[in-house]
Structures are given as C-alpha cells and as structure tokens.
C-alpha cells in the first residue's frame, strides 16, 4: 500500500482579516492614483485662474469640460470618432488575422525564420508614419491609406511575438509530446499553441498601442475627417480646448482597451500562477 496518505485538497482556513486588508489596500491604491491626478488638475486650474498661464495657448480643466459638453451636443466629434474607430478596429482585426498565422509560419521552422527575420526586422524598425506620403499616393487620401498604415503599425508586434513564441518552444514540453508520439500537427495544437497564448496577448497589447498611434498619426498627416484631423485642424485654428478634448478621448479609449486586455490576460493565463 502507498505508505503516504495523500491528503485531500484542503480548503485552507483564511484569516478573515486578510480579505479586508486586501480590499482596503486596493481602495487606497486607487485613491492614491486618482488623488495625484486630481491634484495635478487642481493645480492646473488654479494656475489658469490666477493668470499664471495664458489661456490663449493652453486651457484649463474647467474649459475642457465645457468644450467637451459643447462638442458632444453638436455631435460633430462623434462623427469623427466613429470614422477613426472604424479604421482602427478594422485595421487591428486584419493585423491579427494576418499577423498570427504569419508569425507562426515564420517561427515554426529554423529556415523560414532565417529567411524572413531580416526582412521583418527591417520593417519593424522603420517608423511607419514615414511611409504615409507613399501610402497616400498608392491608396488615396482617407480610408485606404489610413487602413494600410494601421495595419503596418499593428501587424509586426503580433507577428514578431508569435514568431518568438514558436522559436522559444520549451524543449521539455517538446520532448514530452514527441515521447508520447505527437505528430508535428499535434505538437503544434497541444503544445505550441497553448504555450504561445501569453506571447500572443503581449503582441496584441503592444499592437493596440501601435494601431492607435498609427491611426492618429495618419489622420494628422492628411485627410478631412477623424479625430486626428480634428486635432490638427483645431490646433491650426487655435481651438485649444478641442485639441485637449480629443487627446483626453484618445487617452481614455487607450487606457480602457489596455485595461480590458490585462484583465483578459489574467483570465486565460491563470495556470501560470497567482490568479486562482
């Protein structure tokens, strides 16, 4: 008989104070982070009110809020946001659809990696916005060129991360799969794919930022619509508040996306530890 009795998974006794402490700590960290932002905004507002900064060239929080309200009532800003959002989402989706299989294909074998890595590095280090004049010539001002720029911005982080995931396949897991008779396809589906999830999520998260950068850059560069255009146009006509409203809008959107990605990452990656 087995001499050691394996204990049933016990439900450990949890110090009731522990959860309360954890909750409080979380609350404090939110209050602290929010507090710093509120403080900065207050100083800014105060400086404007006391005349330390020139409202001709800058703005202050209260004016931005008012401008936000006005722009919202007009509805014009939403039209621009919708146009930007559409290109962003479409470009990001195409990037994922192309980047994931391409990254797998390039990283799966030593020779495809050697063949394509230099090309990919060359692309990946070129600032994509530098291509914008060419893209406008090729795809026209507006939707086409913007979409291509978003795609070129977002596809490489996804591709490179998937490539890295395939190249860094854990030798231990590869050996297990082989020892139990896995075919290349099974090695891919049962080991490489699950092991690549963290890489994929990192890639998608980086790509999200790049895509946002790409779309705004493209719209600032040229065109007659979109949030980027609105920023550029408002800046030239000294509508400083509108510029700020757009920036806040983009920042909020970016943070929301990034946070939801983090939450998603924790969910799918729970076996890696810490999040049971």
């Amino acid at each position: 008989m087995p001499s050691e009795v394996v204990a049933a998974p016990a439900t450990p006794t949890v110090n009731p104070d522990f959860l309360r402490r954890k909750r409080l700590e979380k609350l404090y960290s939110v209050l602290l982070g929010g507090g710093v932002i509120v403080f900065v905004l207050a100083v800014w507002e105060l400086a404007a009110r006391l005349g330390f900064i020139d409202l001709m060239f800058t703005s202050c929080p209260s004016r931005i809020v008012v401008a936000f309200w006005d722009l919202g009532r007009e509805g014009e800003i939403f039209r621009h946001a919708l146009i930007t959002g559409r290109v962003f989402v479409l470009g990001f989706l195409i990037s994922a659809l192309v980047g994931i299989p391409a990254g797998i294909a390039v990283g799966w074998s030593k020779w495809t990696d050697r063949a394509f890595s230099p090309l990919i590095s060359a692309f990946n280090t070129t600032p994509r916005i530098a291509l914008m004049p060419l893209l406008i010539v090729w795809f026209g001002l507006g939707f086409g060129s913007k979409l291509v720029l978003v795609f070129l911005s977002a596809v490489f982080p996804i591709l490179v991360n998937m490539q890295t995931a395939m190249l860094n396949l854990d030798e231990e897991f590869r050996t297990v799969a082989k020892a139990y008779g896995a075919s290349s396809w099974k090695l891919f589906t049962t080991v490489a794919l699950p092991a690549s999830i963290p890489f994929l999520l990192t890639g998608l998260r980086v790509a999200l930022g790049r895509a946002l950068l790409g779309i705004i850059g493209a719209e600032v560069f040229g065109g007659g619509e979109g949030i980027g255009f609105l920023i550029q146009y408002s800046g030239q006509t000294f509508q400083v508040e509108t510029v700020f409203v757009c920036v806040v809008l983009i920042a909020t959107f970016g943070i929301a996306l990034d946070r939801s990605f983090q939450a998603f990452h924790r969910r799918v990656d729970h076996w890696r530890g810490g999040y049971r």
Binding site: P2, S3, E4, P9, T175, V176, A179, K186, G273
Partner: protein, 281 residues
C-alpha cells in the same frame, strides 16, 4: 549470470513462452553529436537486451555511462546508429505510442489540469474523450491523486507532480514503460515513498518496465532483473536476477538476500577501470 531461458520463478507473471519480447535490442549502438561543437560521443555499444512481457528490468551504472542515452534511444528521442530495436516484435526508429516515458522532471504541461495531463498520451493516439477520461481516472486512482484531478500542476508538490507523471505513463498503456531516474530529483523521503508506491502499483498492474537508475537498492527492490552497464561506451557487463519473493514490500530491504545482492551489484558497477570521484564510497 542470467540467461534468458532460465525460468524466473519469482515473477510468475512473466510470460516466458510468449514468442515475442516486449523489447528486443540487438547489437544496439548509439553515437550522438554535441549540439554546440559537433563532438561525437559513443554512448552505447553493441547492447543485446531482451525484456519479456510483464518483466521489470532495471539498468544501473556509473553516472554518465550512457544508460540514460540508451533509454532515450529506446524511447526514440535519440537516434541509434547500429543494430536493431524491436518493440513487441515491430522494428522501431522514432518515438511512438507503444512506449511511454517517465521523465526525471515531471514535465507536465502547465496549462492542462492533472486529469488532462494524464490522458495526454491517449489523446495523441486519438482515443475518445470518454474512454481516455475513464482510463485517466483509473490511473489517478492508482497513484492516489483523484482528489487533485482538476488542479493545475503548479498547485501540486514535487512528489504529486511526479505521481502525475507516473499516472500519465501508466494510463497510456504502452507495450513498455521507460523510466529515466524518475525519483532522482525528489527529496529522500518522497523518493522512498514513491518507490514503494511504484512497487505497489507495478505489482497490481504488471506492466513491462525498463527503469534506469543510479540507486542500486531501488533497482533491486523493484526489479525482476538488474542489468549492470559498463562505463562509456555502455555495454552490458552483467545481469542479476532478483529472486526476492513477490509480492514484495519495503520489508524486502531487511532480507539478508537483499543486502547481499545490492553489495554484489555495487561491486560490479564499480569494477571499472576508473572510478568517478562522486561515486567512490
């Protein structure tokens, strides 16, 4: 010295009269290339070994003698260059589902639960979900881990991970189980516990096992036959039949025959031109 025609009365389960050994190596030799500098190492030379169905055979030898390479090559993970290898009568070169390996490291897939890890081999063979779950549960029962079936490996202790590793191999139901120093990475107490458990599991299931170990008492306790390898390149120096009565328990260790055999094997293992420092007692 043991000849294979000799009846092994101590393990009545060994099916001597079945024509086909579970494993049969003839003139088996392995030379491998160092991945970094291309240096060639002849690890195994001209090994003839038969393992009968239901037999538990251990290989012992000095550290670095090539016994692990031999096992890896039998598993199909390291190619062999000379001789032949048959598993249940079929010539084999690469890895296959007719063999299952228990690694020194538990090597569990961390994104799979214990249950999913245990049926991994069956899944690769295309066994239906219902059947592979059934068989995985049986294997978990054997190693006493039913309550942990839905845990992820990182929530388990080293000993429990190694039990899962064992369960995975047993569940796969291969022609032969290959174990590569399966308990070497565990602490002394867990190691002994698992040795006893393996003894118990094996006596209940009577699978064919080839175990590589550097622990001679482990080899004697578990095996029907202990094969001593020479220093590198590994050849078979001598084989010992273990005549301790089955079913055995840990208590077999206090049998005077046990100590005597361990001593004899020790002498044989060390009857070698150069004795490596770490192995001198």
């Amino acid at each position: 010295m043991l000849t294979l025609q000799e009846p092994l009365a101590t393990n009545p389960q060994i099916r001597h009269h079945e024509a086909v050994p579970a494993l049969s190596a003839r003139g088996f030799g392995v030379t491998y290339e160092d991945q970094r500098n291309g240096a060639l190492t002849e690890a195994v030379r001209n090994v003839d070994l038969d393992i009968l169905p239901g037999e538990f055979v251990s290989i012992v030898g000095l550290s670095g003698c090539g016994k692990s390479t031999f096992l890896s090559s039998v598993a199909g993970l390291t190619p062999y260059q000379t001789g032949t290898l048959h598993i249940a009568g079929k010539p084999v070169h690469g890895p296959g589902p007719d063999r299952a390996v228990v690694f020194q490291k538990a090597s569990l897939l961390p994104w799979r639960t214990v249950l999913e890890n245990v049926y991994y081999g069956l899944e690769l063979r295309g066994v239906s979900k219902k059947e592979r779950e059934e068989r995985a549960w049986e294997a978990l029962e054997l190693v006493g881990l039913k309550d942990f079936a839905h845990f992820h490996p990182r929530a388990l202790s080293g000993g429990m991970q190694q039990r899962t590793n064992l369960a995975r191999a047993f569940a796969s139901d291969p022609e032969i189980l290959l174990m590569d120093e399966p308990f070497a990475a565990l602490d002394a107490i867990t190691r002994e516990t698992l040795q006893n458990e393996l003894l118990d599991i094996w006596q209940r299931t009577r699978k064919t096992v080839l175990l590589v170990t550097h622990q001679i008492d482990e080899a004697v306790l578990l095996s029907d036959r202990v094969v001593v390898f020479t220093e590198r390149p590994a050849r078979i120096r001598r084989q010992f039949k273990v005549e301790l009565r089955r079913p055995r328990t840990e208590a077999a260790k206090i049998d005077p025959g046990f100590a005597h055999l361990v001593e004899k094997i020790w002498a044989e293992v060390n009857r070698i031109g150069h004795v490596e420092e770490e192995y001198a007692i």
